[in-house]
Amino acid sequence: MNQQDRKVLACVDQSHFADTVADYATWASRRMEAPLEFLHVIDRHLEQGSGEDHSGAIGVNAQAHLLNTLSEKDAALARSQREQGRLFLNRLRERALASGAPSADMRQRHGTLDETLAEQETDVRLFVLGRRGASAETTQRELGRNVESVVRAVRKPILAVTEGFTEPRRVMLAFDGSAVTRKGVDMIAGSPLFKGLPVHVLMSGKAAADGPKQVEWARSTLASAGFDVVADIIPGDPEAIIAREIRKRDVDMLLMGAYAHSPLRSLLFGSKTNGVLRSATIPTLLLR
């Protein structure tokens, strides 16, 4: 499929974060002139039962009877969820069209978020999702519980947004010389998404021997693509430095590689990606 036909997929749930997701997705689709699609995933939680009948008695045609009861219940629930979701998606679609999205489609699917996104991936150029969603509205966690599993499930870039939309004016690339972030440099250079915006390339963490060379390569690649580039190497704890520099330089979008290590390792030692996502409170484009 042609790169131009691939869409920006805005993954929304019924929380107030959805509006922000819609705004950023509109921004991205406008800049890339890519079609926009809103996706609402309905997780049916089939693994949960409804235990009302503990009579333990099975009468005539117990199995057929139970099958009917259960499927009727599921059907009623699915119908009401579908209608609710449709109205909600329609509102977001109107909002996107009103703020200048070239086109906006909508779709509802059953399943879990990560599986659904992995299935949809081939037609997608950029995912946009909220860093928190409906499940985070009631809890205090800074990072929704779906984010890591979703980001790990797909291979395309993901824009994880926080609440409140501001049109990006300055972007920062957290650069570590790895294959993923080098690909990120090429992506910025080649994509219309950031055209005309000043780019800060920042390398932090442990000082690497070939750091200056890598950063220079990133700078020159971006400069020759017509970007206004500032490149720095600031050794130290990446989480703190990235957050500090973002505030200092008034950056409003961050790009970084995501979840390079295995899930087990991130469970045991914590994940840098999660750390940065927590401490940097601006929209972050995660590169896989």
Binding site: L46, E47, G51, S55, G56, I58, V60, Q63, P263
Partner: protein, 491 residues
């Protein structure tokens, strides 16, 4: 990680409650099936505990209940009668080993040859056999027993209208036991049927000589147990799949059944498998995850330890009432109405499965007959998909036969018969490009036709044989190729 959490802890409260309901329902069943098999109730009770607990971890279908079952108990009757309990334990372990092998070589895939009618027949035969097994308790007894059984059935079916919070089979057992004790009725109780568990199960090796003689005794039983156990387990897994709209890992289930049976054999339990009735009860009570199966097993053992002495005083009449409910709930009543609506071949397969099973008391034989009968009917039906048309050409000097359809052993005779060998003609063209030759019988039928024409001095030209015989190769499959449908409907 995620699926582990989902399988175990996504439905905790409902799973635990459903597990308790199932445990209460399992006690009478396990006792009743031990009695069918001719062993002490503790053999079935230990087996039910062990199988439920092991399958919770090893099984492939979360939320399905496995324990000591009637289908398996029926197979082992003669083994217990002729050789005793120790041989049953050895046979149970061997069954487990065979089931693990079956799962390992993915024998579960063979389930697709078991048609819907055979499954219905299996279930109906099982219900009939469970019911028949209750009859000895109802023959040559005083009227008290009939009254108790009738009262028990009344409570089971009517009590849910009062409240669905308490299992009605449990109410039946409690009420009937109380009545029997208070009125001091002289009727048979569970305690009369043999030993009940008095301690936690312990590991023990079956006390049988390890030689070929033993193997020769237990292997036939183990093979039947393996087949029956896997059949009922996979059928039940499909039922639970449908009920919960989720999928299961059938091969893992086969191996899980094997592991559970091996464990059961080593703690003095009989072989078991998945239970249709209990699984339906579990799903109905809200059980979905592995925790429901595990808690059913653990509650079962805990209840036995707590109530041990009281279990012995349950009148057999109460058990009979519960088992009649199970057989009524298992039987597919719609299938009786469907007998007239479904095609006769399906009905014959269903009835044959039931008849053979009830006659032999062996579900494996019933299923085998059912599967063979459905294969026979299928071949018969497909054999009719054959048409031969002919037309004279070249001013009557030549005749062209166009063959369309399936040529194989069941239709080869009809294929030969559709040619006119007595016709006086110069040349015959047989166009088989729109036919399929499935086996050697079909090819030799064509040879026969060609030879017969040649004997009359007629030239024969066969067209399109390559396309037609593509199906001869055993690896023939069209479902994964583009235009597969065209290939079968005409080239």
């Amino acid at each position: 990680m995620k699926s582990l959490k989902q399988d175990w802890f996504s439905n905790v409260r409902n799973d635990l409650l459903a597990g308790l309901v199932v445990a209460l329902a399992l006690i009478p069943e396990a006792i009743a099936f031990s009695i069918i098999a001719g062993v002490d109730p503790k053999v079935g009770l230990y087996a039910s505990f062990c199988i439920a607990v092991v399958i919770a971890f090893a099984g492939g279908r979360p939320g399905m209940i496995s324990a000591a079952t009637g289908a398996m108990a029926l197979v082992m009757v003669t083994l217990v009668k002729d050789h005793g309990l120790q041989y049953l334990l050895a046979a149970t372990i061997l069954t487990g080993i065979l089931q693990i092998i079956a799962g390992w070589i993915r024998l579960g895939a063979l389930m697709r040859f078991v048609s819907r009618s055979v499954v219905t027949g299996f279930v109906n035969a099982l219900a009939i056999l469970i019911f028949m097994a209750q009859l000895p308790e109802l023959i040559n007894v005083t009227w008290h027993v009939y009254a108790m059984t009738a009262a028990g059935l009344g409570i089971i079916y009517l009590f849910p209208h009062v409240t669905k919070a308490v299992p009605s089979p449990l109410v039946t057992i409690v009420v009937l036991t109380a009545v029997a004790i208070v009125l001091d009725l002289d009727i048979r109780t569970v305690g009369d049927m043999g030993e009940l568990p008095d301690s936690l199960p312990i590991f023990l090796l079956p006390d049988v000589p390890l030689n070929f003689e033993t193997l020769a005794i237990i292997l036939p039983y183990s093979l039947t147990l393996m087949v029956v156990g896997l059949l009922e387990s996979l059928m039940t897994a499909t039922i639970v799949d449908d009920l919960t709209d989720t999928s299961s890992d059938k091969n893992r289930e086969c191996m899980g059944q094997g592991v559970a049976n091996i464990a059961s054999g080593f703690i003095g339990g009989m072989a078991g498998c998945a239970m249709i009735g209990q699984s339906v009860i579990n799903v109905k009570s809200g059980g979905r995850g592995r925790l429901s199966t595990l808690s059913a097993g653990l509650f079962l053992l805990a209840l036995l330890m707590l109530l041990g002495d009281w279990v012995a005083r349950i009148p057999m009449a109460a058990l009979v009432a519960v088992m009649i409910m199970v057989s009524i709930g298992t039987f597919n009543w719609a299938s009786i109405r469907n007998l007239r609506e479904h095609p006769p071949s399906s009905s014959i397969v269903m009835v044959a499965t039931v008849a053979v099973t009830v006659a032999t008391h062996d579900l494996a034989q019933g299923v085998l007959v059912g599967v063979l009968a459905s294969g026979f009917f299928f071949a018969h039906k497909v054999g009719r998909l054959l048409g031969v048309r002919s037309s004279a050409e070249d001013e009557g000097r030549q005749r062209r036969y166009s063959v369309t359809g399936q040529v194989f052993f069941a239709s080869a005779d009809r294929f030969v018969a559709s040619f006119d060998f007595k016709e006086v003609i110069d040349k015959v063209v047989i166009d088989v490009s729109r036919a399929h030759f499935w086996d050697i019988t079909a090819v030799s039928a064509l040879d026969k036709v060609v030879v017969k024409f040649r004997r009359e001095g007629t030239d024969v030209d066969v067209i399109g044989l390559n396309e037609a015989s593509a199906t001869l190769v055993d690896k023939f499959a069209v479902h994964d190729k583009d235009g597969g449908a065209d290939l079968l409907t005409g080239h």
